[in-house]
């Protein structure tokens, strides 16, 4: 048999895929509209009702069940107290006072002093300017709410994450256990676990912070462990040879030497937490996220833009300050500043900073002017308006209406072209075919691409999706995801090859990619809602922008990883540039291409779901509806499960396909 198989050449993978597609199309033409599983937005299945009942029974029993009474409720109450404490400090009226304990002047000075003390004077100026800008935007209070939530989440992450990182670094077994958990925490669309969390922790800021913690904790764990493991073994040995105990080794050698990496971990954790504030707003977490969300829902682009800008400003300030702090933690820098920073001089500067801070905090505690950010200044008889925010809002609104009116001739055809010629046909094929036909076609495709295991996983996941009762919505989400991923991969290859071959292009483009990655997910949506309205297409564009930087970077690194000598050899044998790219560089970076596709899919899925909020419909909408209407809670929960199932299927199939293509895809490395 084996010999026979060798004689008859098996048909190529591409032929097989084409065959599947043609067969599917033919059957679709005949069977269209039969055996579909559709569900109107307000309809529910019996599964959804049962989940609703679960929700009700949890709600009824949460004060009698010991698991809730002594564990879940404790966490919920603890987190709520912590957040309330920070809010009283920074943002909300505290006790009998109409204003928080520390007013805007105090916060600005504290942030500036911290930035200067642990970073440098440049980031201190940036921090001062950034925070004053938040006030000028008219968003002081929501900004401080967001800051309070972020601080709460980051403090919890650091308190739990650093000890866990230490454990990971010390015990191999623990590392093996925790790595898949961290992978899951980072790859699961954040959107999905909000609803189950509300089941446990109710709707409110506590759930918001817990969701932020889940998403933001992995970087600090990973980087703490990485930093500790990277400490040279000889230095640790030197410590041991001098007779140090294990705690001494940790405290005096390993942690100080890993300090810089740990701070980078904290930086990434802060960024991740901040990127969750808008999503946390879905469960009534206060702050800028609320502002953005409400504005998006009412299509008020001006307000959404203003608040989105505030999130970006906050992100930039916190990112720069912590980056500067990590740079400073490097021993070299330590050495360089040695002569400048005489210890006595330094202590003097610290003392001055402390006094200035104390005075500022006192002023902001005592005087209304320094407590609540004023919207105007009256100096003598002149009135100086400080409400930059309303200007930003009106500028944006007029820019939006201009864009909608005058750019419609450009954006309209693009939107319609993609919608009518790609999205609609694919969506129809997926959701108007009999469900079993789509099911078979997808599983067959998974088999051709990834082999038996991939097909089995795809079949299992799709089977469970059928069970959620949300087949049609799932297929609509899948269609949007696939189209966005194709665009992401095309962009990834184009820009990746360019950047990989050209150092100057890399130098010019990379900062933009970094900026796109730092920006919180929802903020992307704002300008595209302005341009394209609340449509599925907007979701696709936002998803592309969210996922493309990752894909581009991975491809660029892969192209750069091709040995220069191989490229030279190809050139010296007369290859044209095009031939070098297509015959040498791309085939040799097939692993990176596969990884880029895989990561692109995961990122796109996460964002396509978020876009459900602004007209993307499908699963994302189901989840959001679950927050707002208790009768749809069960459906939202099922939609979340469907998203996870789609994610697992897409991830496994692309990973197997990548392995077959000769590369192993590992999960996102921070």
């Amino acid at each position: 048999m084996a010999r026979a198989a060798r004689v008859y050449r098996r048909p190529g993978r591409l032929t097989l895929l084409l065959g599947i597609l043609v067969g599917w199309l033919v059957l679709y033409a005949v069977l269209k509209g039969t055996d579909t599983i559709s569900l109107a937005p307000s309809d529910v299945t019996s599964l959804h009702t049962r989940l609703n009942d679960l929700n009700t029974s949890v709600g009824d029993n949460r004060n009698s069940n010991p698991f809730f009474l002594y564990f879940i409720n404790e966490i919920q109450v603890g987190a709520t107290h912590f957040i309330t404490f920070l809010q009283n400090l920074l943002s909300q009226p505290s006790g009998t006072r109409p204003v928080p304990v520390v007013g805007w002047l105090g916060v600005v000075v504290i942030m500036t002093v911290i930035a200067g003390r642990f970073g440098n004077w440049r980031v201190a100026v940036l921090a001062a300017a950034g925070f004053l800008f938040l006030g000028l935007q008219g968003l002081w209070q929501p900004s401080m709410d967001t800051l309070a939530l972020t601080i709460a989440a980051v403090v919890i992450c650091v308190l739990i994450g650093i000890p866990l990182g230490v454990l990971v670094a010390q015990y191999r077994g623990f590392e093996r256990v925790i790595t898949p958990v961290l992978d899951l925490m980072q790859t699961m669309p954040t959107f999905v676990y909000l609803l189950p969390l509300t089941l446990l922790f109710l709707i409110g800021p506590a759930t918001g912070v817990i969701a932020m913690v889940i998403y933001a904790m992995p970087p600090v764990i990973r980087l703490t462990a990485h930093g500790l493991q990277a400490v040279s073994t000889e230095t640790v040995e030197a410590g041991r040879s001098l007779g140090s105990t294990r705690p001494q080794q940790l405290a005096k050698i390993m942690l100080p030497m890993a300090r810089r990496t740990i701070i980078i971990g904290v930086n990434q954790t802060i960024m991740a937490a901040l990127s969750m504030v808008t999503i946390a707003a879905l469960v009534a977490a206060p702050g800028l996220g609320q502002t953005v969300l409400q504005a998006l829902e009412s299509q008020d682009v001006g307000t959404a833009f203003n608040a989105g800008l505030a999130i970006v400003v906050l992100a930039v300030v916190l990112d720069r300050v912590t980056t500067a702090a990590s740079e400073r933690a490097r021993a070299t820098d330590h050495a360089r500043t040695r002569l400048r920073a005489d210890p006595r001089w330094r202590r003097g500067a610290d003392l001055v900073a402390l006094i200035v801070t104390a005075v500022a905090v006192y002023l902001s505690y005592t005087y209304q002017l320094f407590a609540a950010f004023p919207d105007h200044l009256a100096i003598g008889g002149t009135r100086l308006g400080l409400d930059l925010g309303t200007h930003i809002e009106s500028w944006t609104s007029s820019a939006t209406s201009w864009a909608q009116r005058d750019l419609g001739s450009i954006t309209g055809p693009i939107k319609n072209g993609v919608t009518y010629h790609a999205l609609n046909p694919l969506q129809n094929l997926l959701d108007s075919s009999p469900w079993w036909l789509t099911f078979i076609a997808i599983v067959a495709t998974a088999f051709v691409l990834g082999g038996r295991w991939a097909a089995l996983i795809a079949a299992t996941c799709l089977g469970l999706v059928v069970g959620t009762g949300l087949w049609q919505d799932s297929m609509d989400t899948l269609a949007a995801t696939l189209i966005a991923t194709v665009v992401v991969v095309v962009l990834g290859v184009m820009f990746g090859v360019w950047m990989g071959r050209n150092a100057r292009a890399d130098w010019g483009i990379r900062p933009f990619l970094d900026a796109l990655q730092v920006m919180p997910a929802f903020v992307y949506l704002v300008p595209f809602v302005a341009l394209f309205g609340a449509t599925r297409f907007t979701g696709i564009v936002a998803a592309v922008l969210y996922a493309a930087p990752v894909a581009i970077k991975i491809v660029a690194d892969g192209i750069r990883g091709v040995p220069a000598e191989t490229v030279e050899a190809a050139g010296s044998s007369g290859c044209s540039t095009w031939q070098v790219i297509t015959k040498v560089q791309l085939p040799m970076s097939v692993r990176s291409l596969a990884l880029a596709t895989n990561q692109g899919l995961i990122y796109v899925l996460a964002m396509v779901v978020v876009a459900g909020l602004v007209g993307g419909g499908a699963l994302g909408f189901d989840v959001v509806a679950g927050f707002s209407q208790s009768s749809l809670f069960g459906k939202g929960l099922a939609a979340g499960a469907a998203i996870v199932l789609l994610g697992i299927a897409l991830d496994r199939v692309t990973q197997s396909a990548a392995r077959r293509a000769g590369g192993h895809v590992s999960h996102r490395a921070t």
Partner: protein, 375 residues
């Protein structure tokens, strides 16, 4: 003990009696009395692999006799150190020499159990360290044995003086006291003026001086050196070797010195242990290795060594015959050949090799020329 190291002293020829004070035994034994030895190693094994198989290797004669590659094929274990025995006398510089992979770095780490030995006993200053608990072992490392590392192992976030004082800090010494002691040691290794620098501001040689100072700070009886100078460039390396010789003369510690460089071994070592694939090939003084290599492996090693600088007269003398002119000068048996060349060639009569007034043999022109000509 370091007479043969003081090369380049032209007066040595005219003052043979200085060397004659040395009473080095004709052939130094591989073992000395363990009661006197500072370090005594018996049957030491380190086998890397799964704990169950690894511990079986030393006790199973069949496995213990296998070569390294055979053992790896058979059990998957790597025998880094196989059945080593040696003693180091107080104040001796004992060099362990071997190529990379010979197990020498593992050996030196086993001595203070930075790597846990698989079998065997190690006695340091009368204490069996293989039986020690964690606490006793820490005390040993804090007070009795210190180590200098190849890549220095300094703490980049601490200043030089804090690095040097690190071991004292670990012991719990007060800040003032440890700073005072660290300053002393920094002066001793010639780093005065760099107390407040950070390690990365120093050159490699100076960084290793910091490592040396850190090891000296606790005033240990035994110092271990793990290829301390192989990361340095040749000129700096020579300076550092001189530094170790000087320190040894001033502080008189027992030293175990690991190196892959034969000339370094010959320069520093009172005795040298040559290791290959985890086993001892030969233990002896420099002249013994050069004059009487135990096998082809050692012979190959010492081939390039300038013999006239290493061999002493006792290694090239012949027995006196009645026909010899006995009017020549007298020299001690451990005078290095190079230092005796002029004395032999200038006189017509052969030089008499004499210890304690007893004639051991004679050295004439042919014997000298054979060594000098490198045959």
């Amino acid at each position: 003990m370091t007479a043969h190291v003081d090369q380049g002293d032209p007066t040595a020829v005219s003052k043979p009696d200085v060397s004659a004070e040395n009473t080095r035994p004709t052939v130094s034994p591989g073992r000395r009395d363990p009661d006197v030895a500072d370090i005594s190693v018996r049957g030491l094994w380190k086998v890397f692999g799964t704990a169950r198989t690894a511990t079986r290797v030393p006790t199973t004669p069949e496995l213990a006799a296998m070569s390294r590659s055979e053992l790896r094929d058979r059990t998957g274990c790597l025998a880094a150190v196989c059945d080593l025995d040696f003693d180091v006398a107080p104040g001796e510089v004992f060099v362990v020499m071997g190529l990379s992979g010979s197990g020498k770095s593992t050996l030196v780490r086993c001595l203070t159990r930075l790597i846990e030995p698989t079998a065997g006993t190690i006695t340091i200053q009368g204490e069996d360290i293989t039986r020690m608990g964690d606490r006793a072992l820490r005390e040993l490392r804090r007070n009795k044995v210190s180590m200098v590392f190849q890549h220095f192992g300094l703490l980049p976030h601490r200043r030089v003086i804090e690095n040097v004082a690190f071991g004292l800090e670990i012991r719990g010494m007060s800040r003032a006291e440890r700073m005072r002691r660290a300053t002393e040691v920094i002066e001793l290794v010639g780093l005065d003026g760099y107390q407040q620098s950070y390690p990365e501001q120093l050159s490699g040689g100076m960084q290793q001086r910091v490592g040396l100072a850190r090891a000296l700070a606790g005033d240990p009886g035994v110092m271990l050196f793990d290829e301390p100078f192989s990361a340095l460039d040749p000129l700096i390396r020579r300076d550092m070797q001189q530094e170790v010789i000087r320190l040894h003369r001033e502080v008189g510690k027992t030293m175990v010195f690991i190196t892959h460089d034969l000339s370094e071994a010959l320069k520093l070592g009172d005795r040298i242990l040559i290791m290959r694939d985890g086993r001892t090939v030969q233990v002896g003084t420099g002249p013994e290795l050069v004059g009487a290599p135990a096998d082809d492996y050692v012979r190959d090693f010492v081939r390039e060594v300038p013999r006239s600088q290493v061999l002493t007269l006792e290694w090239i003398m012949r027995e006196a015959v009645p026909a010899d002119d006995m009017s020549g000068r007298e020299l001690a048996p451990d005078v290095v050949v190079r230092d005796a060349v002029r004395a032999v060639l200038e006189s017509t009569a052969p030089v008499k090799v004499v210890r304690d007034g007893r004639l051991l043999g004679v050295v004439g022109d042919p014997e000298i020329l054979r060594v000098v000509a490198g045959s």
